[in-house]
Amino acid sequence: MADLSINFAGIKSPNPFWLASAPPANSGDQVHRAFEAGWGGAVWKTIGGPVLNVSNRYGAWHSGAQRMLAINNIELISDRPLEINLREIRDVKRNWPGRAVIVSAMVESKPAAWRTIVRQIEDTGADGIELNYGCPHGMSERGMGAAVGQVPEYCQQITAWVKEVSQLPVIVKLTPNVTNIVLPARAALAGGADALSLINTVNSIIGIDLDTLELSPSVGGKGGHGGYAGPAIKPIALNLLAALATDPELAKSNLPVSGMGGIATWRDAAEFLLLGATSLQVCTTVMHYGFRVVEDLIDGLSNWMNEKGFRTIADFQGRSVPRLSDFGNFDLSFRVVARIDQARCIKCNLCYVACHDTAHQCIDLITAHPEHRPHPQVREADCVGCRLCYNVCPVEKCIEMVEVPSGRAPLTWAQLAQAEPAVAEDWEAMKKYRDRHGIHIH
């Protein structure tokens, strides 16, 4: 049987699934019920100074029949009094010693304020502290959240203040709203962070009501940017996770990373782990379906691990990282072409129009019989293997990308540019190179 337990910077958890710091982890009663449902840990909704929330807090992106592919929020940190939060954190931890209880915090950028909150958190018996440098709205207007996360120097400074007083593992939560995620991550490392987590929500405007012309969500007629989260942001999160995994400085430090952003199923979870995350946090999916989703997160991941022969999370954690590479290192001689299984084809001809109008005009419509609808056929010699038709085809296993020999020895762009610099700089040289190697682009 698969063992899902993890040790994250010294924080032990029976499985990698934690509630992200957000509404699902807003109170003792909620976290208690989440633990009953099987969650391995919870990062408490961010605590800090006094705030007041507004209503109409969440907008959402629905696609077709699929509700809430993403949510967008203009909510602040916890609006419950600090002592109540601290008391409930203490109670939950006492009742659930085997689960990970981490407290997210955000206070004014002053050493004294951070010292105080750290002591208060330590007194609850919690297992760790997460520094929220991510909140992209509201709190940032008051100089906190993303206003810190976007400036590496502040990031390092505050982390250092916290580390000076904290006995607990300190996790720095990064905002994705930066041009290079590696810089704040390195700053956190320099400030002494024990771990990183990412991503917080993405800056966004979710939409406009075409009847009222107001932004959504509308607060009495006004609206603005908010934090974007949910399944739609997963690709962004994976990319930023990969950026941390491939940075040599961060890689050397071995800082564990708690991954989040769009985790909806165990498949998503496995992908985050394969790119190097140690623990996983979930918010929007829980907001959609409730705590019970953890059951299939655990069950699906365990079954997959059993099928693959992975006994522990460590057995496959980071396994896809060595596959990460740059364009310059991809093999230019690797060749695939699209092949359509005519027996499966339903002749929707979406592949035809996609290729004909927007790719390389190498799918023909063949009329085999005047009374039959024409069917699509690939001219393989002209196919560049872009995979667009494969992606638009609505029929399972109908179009497959098949590897074919290119007749050329493996060669990357980096190698080519070094061996024959002219080819990379001059179209005439490139033309000659193509002719020499039989590369005909139609």
Partner: protein, 425 residues
Amino acid sequence: MNGLTEALPPLSGHEALVEANRCLFCYDAPCTQACPTHIDIPRFIKKISTGNLTGSARTIFDANLLGATCARVCPVQELCEGACVLGSEHKPIAIGRLQRHTMDHAYSHGAAMPTVGAPTGFHVGVVGAGPAGLSCAGELARRGHAVTVYEKRDLGGGLSTYGIIALREPVGVALAEVEMIRNLGVRVLSGVEFGRDVTLDSLIGDHSAVFLSLGLGRTPDLGIRGEEHLVDGLEFIEQSKTSPAGPHVGRDVLVIGAGNTAIDCATIAKRLGAARVTILYRRTANEMTAYTHEYRFIQNEGVRFEFLTQPVEAIIDEGRLTGLRCRRMQRTGRGLPEPVSGSDFTLPADQIVKAIGQQKPPAFRGLETDRGYLRINDEMETSLAGVYAGGDCVRARGSASTVMAVQDGKRAAAAIHKALTGLIS
């Protein structure tokens, strides 16, 4: 056999995914409440949508060991799908077909197959290898009890094997389930008849507890002249499933009765080449016990109905059946319709199939009955301590179905386990 293979094709992986993604994943879902075995339906469907078919199968097996049969034979319009919240405005989720998708995966990949519990030393005897008996035997084996099933016929599966037409469930599906139960260490002894080869006393002597699930009997007699020329509907269906040559089918076929069995017999006759098939019923369409969707289905097959018609005598000419003398009935009040005197007429027929239900279970000394069915209490126990019963043989009220038999077997196993070990599970 032409026209008698499984009617619905399996869903492709993509179709299943699309359908599974339509499921709203309701909280405290009505489909789960409507399923007699209370399968956690949104959960197994959600697992299809995440590509966790192993977990999906386990979810089904947890509540229902015969999920592959139920996925095919359950009157889902009346049960889970009938309760789906999408039913009123849109199309309900195709729960039966999704369940079949998962079960087909489980059986073809050997995924999530139920496993045996640690041995308890108890040994339970089960009579009848139909859905109720197999469910009970399997659930007991899961809890570590040794189980022997006594089955009088050659093959296990009960009516799933012999009685439900292949259009709905091919024999192979039922037999694979028997095999799955055998793989739990359950001994299924075939060709052993209760009342002849073993008795209630011998079973009580040999076992820690006994579960009776022997279903119902043959088709009862109509009590008309020429009865011996009539075909028993249950045998007719059985031959269509298990005999390679199939049943003999006439040109002009009359089917007597208007329950689901009559519809099944008419379907077989029509699909195997009868020129005309007519269903006779002494009441009206409103009182038919067949499900509405079945009634609609058979009308589309081109089968005619003679309502308010009662059989009087089979007409035999030189030893050959040529027709059926019938009498018209009429409504007089709220009760049974009454014969109209002088209304007799003859319908030509070279084959008459009677499908008027099944005989009640035989009486056993020491076991009390309720309207001819075995009487049980809330714990599924008969009037004899340690002897339990379930399935069609206790179904004194309501219409009998496979899934209810499965649930009976499951409940009885839990009650037997509790009685033997004091444990609740």
